[in-house]
Chain length 167, copies 2
Amino acid sequence: MVKELDEKAEALPDHVGWRLWQASRAWQAEFAAAMRAAGHGWFTEARAGLLGHITRTGMRQSALIERSAISKQAIQQLLDGLEAEGIVERLPDPQDGRGKLVRYTRKGLDALRDGDRIKMEIERRYVGRIGEEGFTALMGALRAFAAGGAAAMDEDAGPESEVVESK
Amino acid sequence: MVKELDEKAEALPDHVGWRLWQASRAWQAEFAAAMRAAGHGWFTEARAGLLGHITRTGMRQSALIERSAISKQAIQQLLDGLEAEGIVERLPDPQDGRGKLVRYTRKGLDALRDGDRIKMEIERRYVGRIGEEGFTALMGALRAFAAGGAAAMDEDAGPESEVVESK
DNA sequence: AGGGTATAGTCAAGCTACTTGACTATCTAG
DNA sequence: CTAGATAGTCAAGTAGCTTGACTATACCCT
């Protein structure tokens, strides 16, 4: 696209993939920094990804496994960490002796609330930068990719792929 | 991929950060799959990130350290891997006995060419999905974020960090 | 009831992609 | 010529996954 920086050698990459990655990284860095600033020092990207799947009312560990696209062992390790930090707690499932229920602690719920607030603040800043319209268009485009991408991957990528889609 | 999944509890997240992450992941998965299909089995995301910074004419390892935001040790390890795979080679820098020049091998250049082709194919597919206009708008928005984020970084964080940190 | 199989979760080991810390070799400035 | 900065290496540790092997419980069938 724009290529007027021949300063020295070659320009930094500028294709969709790179830009998406960059924007995603920037968002995450901004969010994580704000969370840390809000006193949630335990916050990491991986944990955030998992927490996004835990409903406020709590849920079975196995349900969590279905929703997030990673292995049950990975989830367990993440939960171990979150439990140690006092963000979630695991209780035996009264309906199923094998199962465990994962629930937010008060501290966890506080963090969620702060997280929601921070998300809105960041979004507001983004809207400020590219305008209400631009923002809506952006979200539309991203959602279109998510939908189409999953379909495309089903077609040719095979079973190993990290399909995010909900199933 | 309609959204008729209120099956049970709460919806999956749908904010900018999540969507950006999803889109970025989808792009990467698509790209990596295509690269593997093209015979570049050594390809990984981390390596891709580094390769994106190596100019086709080769460069000093130290220059690479400046451009990419990770530690020199990490870069070295990645280069060790890429060298073992025969993608790049390291030569002593004739102008500086301490330095080493990192250069693509023929195999590396082949991979780059394939990578460029694949990028264009993916981009074409994206354009097909959201239209030429939509695509241009998307890229504009993403670049605006990058610029804004970078500016924010210049303000209060050092050059090394990827912390966006509003402070 | 008894036996097979599926499901829920755990334990252990290993891999990738980083990190920090400590070290060597070389260059440059005073 | 020596002090210090710079380029790169070596070693060890961490986060966030992976696969494989295992235990405990539930469900289903005859």
